[in-house]
Symmetry: C2
Subunit: 179 residues, 2 copies
């Protein structure tokens, strides 16, 4: 098994230690190499290190206070404009029915998980968080209403070593030839 | 850069060579280790090797004839029942507005990309395909209408070495502190 897949954990306690800028760029570069439908590359990333911004984002993200231990947040934003013309007025939120929204969530999620595994590769840790509403989070960052925030990824050096959480057994996940 | 991320390509031409069953299981095991919201693990996988089934699936997947060169398809199915009680009647398709559908697409996409990278790790190749409609594909496999097929992943030994497709430059993807 790829050791980054085996060893990755969602980390909710980080050391008080900055992340090297070069490593942040390498991590985002791993997202850049992701596959996406028709190579549309809907992903955009906002790197947050300001304490004030982290506080506001954490508040919108259900006040998960552990988040503030992370030196870096990466706000991961999917842009539907790679699929829908910018002349078409559109607002997106958790209840939007647009098929293209499902596609950009899929593709941006792929890119985000590349970042999680690349971070692990560099000795760093991450946690996906998404306990926010679009309408609360977007204004904090000035994100337009036609964009969709898939995740606020926390990033830093881990200060805990949690055990692997339980998983459904393999034979329960797999079927052959039909449902 | 993690070499599996660097070297992965979407492969659309495969060698006429079966994939070892043990490797298929290792690949699906890598999906099993994925993170998911509240550890809900919505993913399910149908392994297809029957030529008849592959033909039917390919037909539903926009008749992309290259798909038939792949010895294995893995049909990746997200199950909303980890988030919505089974007493609630629900049908899902590309136009469904349910927020939980967005969450299970996100989480299943993470798991699928783990499989792509683990396949690369084992010397195998993959391609995400999703040029189908739920209503066409699900009946072929007997998948209930409350499940959502995220992807038909092709899997096999590659018989082409495509160059990396162009990507948006890093500085276009990254913002700092705000949109």
């Amino acid at each position: 098994m790829l050791s980054e897949i085996q060893n990755r954990r969602s980390i909710r306690k980080y050391k008080n230690k900055d992340v090297e800028k070069e490593k942040i760029l390498q991590i985002i570069d791993s997202a850049r190499l992701s596959p996406s439908g028709s190579n549309t590359q809907p992903w955009n990333f906002i790197v947050i290190t300001s304490e004030t911004m982290k506080e506001k984002i954490t508040y919108a993200d259900h006040s998960q206070s552990w988040m503030m231990t992370a030196p870096v947040f990466i706000v991961c934003v999917a842009d539907i404009r790679c699929r829908i013309d910018s002349n078409v007025t559109i607002w997106l939120d958790e209840n939007s029915p647009e098929p293209e929204l499902k596609q950009i969530i899929r593709d941006t999620s792929i890119a985000i998980e590349h970042m999680c595994l690349q971070a692990e590769h560099l000795g760093l840790s991450t946690c996906w968080t998404a306990w926010f509403n679009q309408k609360d989070l977007r204004p904090i960052l000035g994100i337009p209403e036609d964009k969709y925030v898939c995740c606020v990824l926390t990033l830093g050096y881990n200060d805990e070593l949690p055990k692997q959480r339980p998983r459904r057994p393999l034979n329960e996940l797999i079927r052959y030839e039909k449902w």
